[in-house]
């Protein structure tokens, strides 16, 4: 219990406190609060991905599939049947969790690159299906959510700050789930699987079930993020919501640059990458076509080369983090 107020926890608490107070300092309808909300939403998405990518060590490049399933499920339920997105969000989570379970059967025997490619293909298939089923999904035109004034029961607000706080709540919840999974009994199983799958199996770990559980939870949380994204932006189309570079790779990238498998990684990663992208766009997009993406890419490569274990490695090297780890292993 002496670790209750460890520096790591204090830093995390400070982060959430600062995030909760931030809207008071920003123009509630301005651009900056939208960027801040996006930082938190991408942190939540990356943390959801981190359950599969970091804890189970299955590098998925197809999480956009679950993101899009969440967005389409809640939005279609709302547009066609008038179901509030609050309920649609839960249905989307179930649909995405089911899809993840189905996808697990053929893909969990695959390792490394092959697993990544299979998940990537799954998201691409979803994108093609959404584009071609025009009657249901609206096809390439996408779906718009009509705004009919501020209606909390229908997940619609006039002020960006309301979305911001909902997204912050979502991020806290996803981080709590991640922490419970990482530190609970399933966390030990996942760690055993990650370290050495054969050894885990002969030590009595049902490796398939452990990976399946992580995968379903990760997909369900990602779908919730998808619903929130759809409500926040009021519009999405298949190419943006099932995007490989915009969603799938970005979720993985944020977690990896921040620190794979760590609780703080996705927070640090999103805090670093999303504003960086914004700045690169603002400063460079008027200079030459593609220059901002180029600069962003160069910085990303640099970050990975300089610290392959992610930005969290810098925190773990500080004396505060070290004392905590020493205390934890000595216990």
């Amino acid at each position: 219990m002496r670790n209750l107020f460890s520096p790591s926890r204090a830093a995390l608490l400070l982060f959430f406190l600062a995030a909760a107070l931030l809207p008071l300092a920003l123009d509630p309808r301005g651009h900056l609060i939208r960027v801040a909300a996006m930082v938190l939403l991408f942190a939540a998405m990356a943390q959801s991905w981190n359950i599969v990518g970091g804890l189970a060590n299955q590098i998925s490049l197809g999480h956009a599939a679950f993101f899009g399933l969440g967005a389409y499920t809640s939005t279609l339920l709302f547009l066609k049947l008038g179901v509030t997105p609050w309920i649609g969000m839960g249905v989307g989570a179930v649909v995405a969790g089911g899809a993840a379970a189905l996808l697990s059967i053929p893909t969990f025997r695959l390792k490394g690159h092959y697993f990544a490619l299979a998940t990537l293909a799954f998201a691409e298939v979803m994108r093609v299906i959404a584009n071609s089923l025009g009657d249901v999904t609206g096809g390439p035109v996408g779906l718009s959510i009509p705004f009919m004034g501020s209606q909390p029961a229908l997940f619609a607000f006039r002020s960006v700050a309301s979305y911001y706080w909902i997204i912050l709540g979502l991020l806290v919840a996803v981080c709590a789930v991640f922490h419970l999974l990482a530190s609970g009994a399933i966390g030990y199983r996942l760690r055993a699987v990650r370290e050495n799958e054969a050894a885990a199996e002969v030590a009595g770990v049902d490796t398939f079930r452990v990976k399946l559980t992580a995968s379903v939870i990760s997909a369900a949380l990602t779908a919730v993020c998808g619903t929130v994204f759809a409500q926040f932006t009021f519009f999405f189309d298949p190419d943006s919501i099932f995007s490989l570079s915009g969603i799938s790779v970005r979720m993985a990238m944020i977690a990896i640059v921040g620190g794979l498998g760590t609780l703080g990684g996705p927070l640090v990663g999103a805090l670093f990458l999303i504003p960086l992208e914004e700045v690169a766009n603002a400063v460079l997009s008027s200079q030459a076509a593609g220059l901002s993406q180029f600069a962003f890419g160069v910085i990303l490569i640099g970050a990975i080369l300089i610290q392959p274990r992610g930005l969290m490695a810098y925190w773990l090297r500080t004396p505060w983090a070290k004392t905590r780890r020493a205390a934890a292993t000595g216990a």
Binding site: Y188, A192, E195, A198, A203
Partner: protein, 234 residues
């Protein structure tokens, strides 16, 4: 205790084991000898439920193991030390050991079990805080055996424990296997090092291309002309 009847196993191609019949009695150490590709590892993997396509019968204390999910088998009292020292590399020695007791029932007296492993392998006590991946091959093998012992097995399956180790470490392991057996744990030992295997075993089987071609007392096998020429290098 362990009875194998007409066991056939394959990975999708031709049978790697054909009609193997083998028995381990309580308290016994049984060696399985054979060249590479004879099917020794497959035999142990099939017992542990890691080979999907198996026919025949493997019963452990009356429980049929064929068709049983692999992760449920350690809890029956069967410990498997896989070939190639599969330790959890980025965990400490102590955590590796705890993992062995963590996942099945009756894992109460963990501290006592750790002491038992440390008594067998004093080096692990010295290195308990070290990352398993950074230890020598022999030490990793000790971790791997220790982890299997943490599940309190009645029967220990050892797959090539001496493989790739220095002679002095092999002697140490050899002594440990004998000590484990004297504690009442039956051992099924797969070895290419027939000298080592027959010196600790009570009985032995010789596997060739998936068939049992010879079996008998360890002493009788050691004296057998064919075994001496093929596996003992004399």
């Amino acid at each position: 205790m362990l009875e194998i009847r007409n066991l056939c196993a394959a990975y999708g191609g031709p049978d790697v084991l054909s009609s193997v019949t083998l028995e381990v009695k309580a308290g016994e150490t049984v060696a399985v000898l054979g060249a590479n590709t004879a099917g020794k590892t497959t035999l142990l993997r099939t017992i542990s439920g890691l080979v999907a396509r198996a026919r025949g019968s493997v019963t452990f204390e009356g429980t049929e193991l064929i068709g049983r999910p692999a992760h449920t088998i350690p809890a029956l009292g069967l410990g498997h030390v896989p070939e190639g020292r599969h330790v959890f590399p980025r965990m400490t020695t102590l955590d590796n050991l705890k993992m062995g007791a963590f996942f099945h029932r009756g894992a109460g007296d963990i501290a006592q079990r750790i002491q038992r492993v440390f008594a067998l392998f004093p080096r692990l006590e010295e290195r308990q805080g070290q990352m398993a991946g950074s230890m020598s091959g022999g030490e990793q093998q000790m971790v791997s055996i220790g982890r299997a012992l943490m599940g309190n097995p009645k029967l220990l399956l050892l797959d090539e424990p001496s493989h790739g180790l220095a002679p002095i470490v092999v002697d140490e392991l050899h002594a440990a296997i004998g000590a484990i057996n004297r504690q009442g744990v039956a051992v099924l030992l797969v070895e290419q090092n027939a000298v080592l295997a027959l010196s600790v075993a009570h009985r032995g089987y010789v596997l060739e291309a998936g068939h049992v071609v010879l079996s008998g007392d360890a002493q009788a096998l050691s004296a057998d002309h064919g075994v001496r020429r093929a596996y003992l290098g004399v």
